[in-house]
Amino acid sequence: TFSPSEGTPHLTINHDVAADLDSTNAFEGPEKLLEVWFAPNPNALPEGTKPGGLKAVKQDTWVGMLDMVNCKILSVLDSEHVDAYLLSE
């Protein structure tokens, strides 16, 4: 058993989606991977960018984009440097 430090990521579950998800026909196999960088590193955000950059964007805002992709948020593991969204399908 270990004791996590203050920096340990924590988990939020979206029950509205996660509780009754049926993925009977959802899978095809290989995924698509998109990586979009807006700066070379997190300490080099361009002038005028809000503190926190993309991490400052509210979770609800991503929902609209993810709807276009056909994904729903199941849960979010957030930490100081990165937020990890687990998505449906």
């Binding site: 998800l21 993925s23 979009v36 960018t49 609209g64 990890a84």
Partner: protein, 405 residues
Amino acid sequence: SSMFVFPHKLILKTCGTTTLLLGLRRLLRIAAAEAGFPIHNAASLDDIHAAATPYRVFYSRKNFLFPHKQQGPHRSWKQEVKYLDDIFDNGSAYMVGKMNGDHWYLYLTSPQESADGMTSPGSASTFKIPCGMTSAFNGALEANDETLEVLMTDLDPENAKKFYLEHASAVACARLDSSVVKGKTLAEDVNMTDSVATVKTTSTVDSAAEEVDVFSNGSGSELCDDFNTPLSSQLDDEGLTTEGHALGSVVSDVCGLSDVYPTSKYPDARIDSYLFSPCGFSANGIVPAPQTEDNDDAARKNHYFTVHVTPEPVCSFASFETNVPGGQNGRETSEIIAHVVDIFKPGRFSVTLFEAKTPQALTDSPQVSAGRSKTMEAIKGYKRIDRIVHDFEDYELVFRFFERE
């Protein structure tokens, strides 16, 4: 599917017949409107075409198993490239690997030289987005920027049963019985709000669960040994909150995923996993860098890994991706690959390692680089078929393909 949001970049990996690229324009718009990243393709945000200027864009995928089932621009690589070329004005597309076998596609943009760091707002009639104009971005690439992706097909069918809800339910029942006997708890500190629960796990779970073959004894997926109580409710009593997440956690432990970045070496690592119904598994992990003498709390960086599994024999596939740097008091990249391959036992798999040519990477001696490369060539039980190196401007890509011996 998974999404990772960093201050300076976003990674979106989507499964099945999702339409990932259809979200790209919205993403660029959000980056400008909500995060304040600069725009260079329009005069102001009032213009509906206005979008943030990315520094770099990568899009990659393995060849699809069923391209005719894909939607939107994803029916062919040609259409995907056209879609991206219509948005960006400096992209390059590549195919890596055997055309008549398992191959891998990559689209990437390169930083552009620009005299003034700006294009004329709205000057292009198509409102194409210039990427990575070098004078507009200050700062070096991240140190130790490397991404490892292992794409596995033809999974061992017997082993793949671990990723079916029916099997995992039976294993979970066995674990519950075991934990009651041993007096262990799965979690503490559960805060419920209207529709969202925040769970802070503060104790470990027993990873030594017994394997149960539900395919031979016919156990149901919804009920545990108390046949009137849904399994999810029984697990709720232990602090987990939905069946998909609860069983995902069990599968992570039982299959060995929880040990890829073990808490003995990465004490603050956390995994969020979900088992789909009737089958399929996804997991995200956040791995804070281990604390060292020259790496205080303020400088510690969080890395990620993500896993997606489609276990059906007709299209079995598993992927593992991480940007946790190899070595550096943690596990070597070759160890990670061997561990992951042992979890899924694929018939074939590819390994792509995408490494930034940072000053730190360039200081490695040829002997160190050669040694690291050699260890990645030998994966027990597999024969390395292909090794292809692409030398990009700021990155080196090494693609390897293996088949079971």
